[in-house]
Symmetry: C2
Amino acid sequence: MLVKEKLSNWLLKEKENALAFLQKTVQEASTTGNESGVQKIVAQKLEEIGLEVDLWYPDGEELAGHPNFCASRTDFSQSPNVVGIWRGSGKGRSLVLNGHVDVVPEGDLKQWDDHPFSGKIIDGKLYGRGSTDMKGGNLSLLLAIQALKATGTTLKGDLFFHSVIEEESGGAGTLAAILRGYKADAAIIPEPTNMKIFPAQQGSMWFKLTIKGKAAHGGTRYEGVSAIEKAAVVLEAIKELESKRNNRITDPLYKDIPIPVPINIGKMGGGNWPSSVPDLVYLEGRIGVAPHETLEEVKKELEQYVMRIQDPWLNEHPVSVEWFGAQWLPGSIDPEHPLMNILIRNYEHVRREKPVIEASPWGTDGGLLSQVGDTPSIVFGPGVTAVAHYPNEYIEIEKILEAAEIIALTIYDWCGGSSE
Amino acid sequence: MLVKEKLSNWLLKEKENALAFLQKTVQEASTTGNESGVQKIVAQKLEEIGLEVDLWYPDGEELAGHPNFCASRTDFSQSPNVVGIWRGSGKGRSLVLNGHVDVVPEGDLKQWDDHPFSGKIIDGKLYGRGSTDMKGGNLSLLLAIQALKATGTTLKGDLFFHSVIEEESGGAGTLAAILRGYKADAAIIPEPTNMKIFPAQQGSMWFKLTIKGKAAHGGTRYEGVSAIEKAAVVLEAIKELESKRNNRITDPLYKDIPIPVPINIGKMGGGNWPSSVPDLVYLEGRIGVAPHETLEEVKKELEQYVMRIQDPWLNEHPVSVEWFGAQWLPGSIDPEHPLMNILIRNYEHVRREKPVIEASPWGTDGGLLSQVGDTPSIVFGPGVTAVAHYPNEYIEIEKILEAAEIIALTIYDWCGGSSE
């Protein structure tokens, strides 16, 4: 029997157990600070599969000294990281499989048709916060490893399975895994891509613009300067900057993406009384960072652009720019990288169609892996992009199994597998 | 001795007592709900002067049934209104003198150089919240009445001195006085006009516009519709509407006013996450109402204008318009009204210059007096417009005395005074 058939048959038989496992991990509502339960389940699973397991509590104080540390906490004493290690026999290419277990909050309960952490299965879909982003993807990784083990595979290269915390809050979990030495020749991250293959991932940063005006009574508003009117001028400039930045992008990975690296203004507020001219407005936004850019370059470009807005009032009262909250490094791998070729070939084997190959519109821990861990990363996973972070999040069960099969074959080819 | 000289001499002698009285009334920090202390002082003063005094607690439940009632409370059990009545001998023209005793809150204490209710006198200015808006103006009224009484004047027409609550919160005090029957052939309201004469006063209303968008991840912002971008379209339309409305105004009273009836957007907010396309934005503003307009006409014009914005998204997702909070009726008197002529003549007598005659950029209780009380109103007072509602509010003492003299002579002429 061919390896492909053996893996495929094994996965088919394992399906029910696998879904029960996914339900269990979804039911562990692993929002920030509550990852311990799910991580212990994952660690136990890795032991059962036969991997060496490293479960540790990242040292926040130590991490905080790293220039790419970005988190709203430094206490990870209840939030373990887990890495499963499958040592190769030697002289093979190593691989990181990376998935995060933290999930975003469930949000407004009224918008959920069922309990947000139900794990309920209806019509081939498994529902719950974290099902798509990204416990379903993590299950594909585990199944791939388990299938290889169960079918008696040995590998030449090392395989590291990262089960990390903190992806949704800045990547401190993956940073900790990298700093602990769990790097490799390349990585696969099964974030919810709708089975698209993303050799490049957009980074991003948050900024806050503060715009001053001059207060006056609304009845004599001509005696003041409206910070809301000036904010409209700034919004216009931000759109120009967005065009300018995107016109520079010629990478064919972006050819079907209307705005490769958008600048989104997500929040705005200002003024405090209907009858007063508002003297302060803030805008909060996210700027996308292209894979070839550094965060510093992009910061500088936005700061300078905002500084040069042609407006006499703003020239005398410059817009202030702050960089706050989360930052995601862009990530990438050469589209001609051998791991890309292997992944595409196996994708075509399993799905009998060509994959969509694009750049992702959001950052992942692949930025840290690529730039800090020197581990070029591909993002490819079974989850449904549109329901990540939304009510009634779900994942299609068939896609989990397809991804597992594709990834199992890819590990086999990349790490130099051989079968009994 | 001429009446003018007698009044002038009496006022000069009374100055010290008058200032002590003003200090006392300013020190009674009569913010909303705390008007009782100052009203009792005023009532006592009116009795001393020899007027009939009506002090009563407006019935909020009863007032609330009136279409022009506008207040955030209906309990006035701690907030008396006071009217002082000087009955004329008959067949003369009657006059209302109207001033409010409520003051706006002191705001940020750090911005005050002294205690906000100090009443301190420095370099001819008396400081404190309410000094300019409008206890100084009220003092001018009291001094005018007192001077006439002290110099043995009798009047043909009735004189009503309204010392009202709630002007800063929608005019329920003046409404209560009108409904109790204290109306007249005309009125003078000494709001802080910098000694300008306002035969017309701008009314105003508050509105809230709610603009919908469509949420999406900021990295694929082209999949959403930004409510902030749509708000910019609405802001543009509001400016057009403002131009259109103001281009219609030909009244020479507005000739030196850059925007006779402005539309001010005073507050704005929306969105809740830098990385999400905002799906809801609200704008809160104030629209000025010209003296010849009704509130209903203006509401309809704004609602229709906003409805007709040429934007496919907004056509399918119409901006919602709410009218909330305070409303001030516009007020006016014919610029050729005999009371205007008398006031102008006495102004020129006392100040030896021509008065500035304009339309006010804000509403006063003159709107209710004109439109509900059928009492055409002139706004003219000694206070400093620019410091009303601001830290370090003050009034120039000389102006109080000048206004008192002008008003005393005007009462004399209008109500048919005769001297012993």
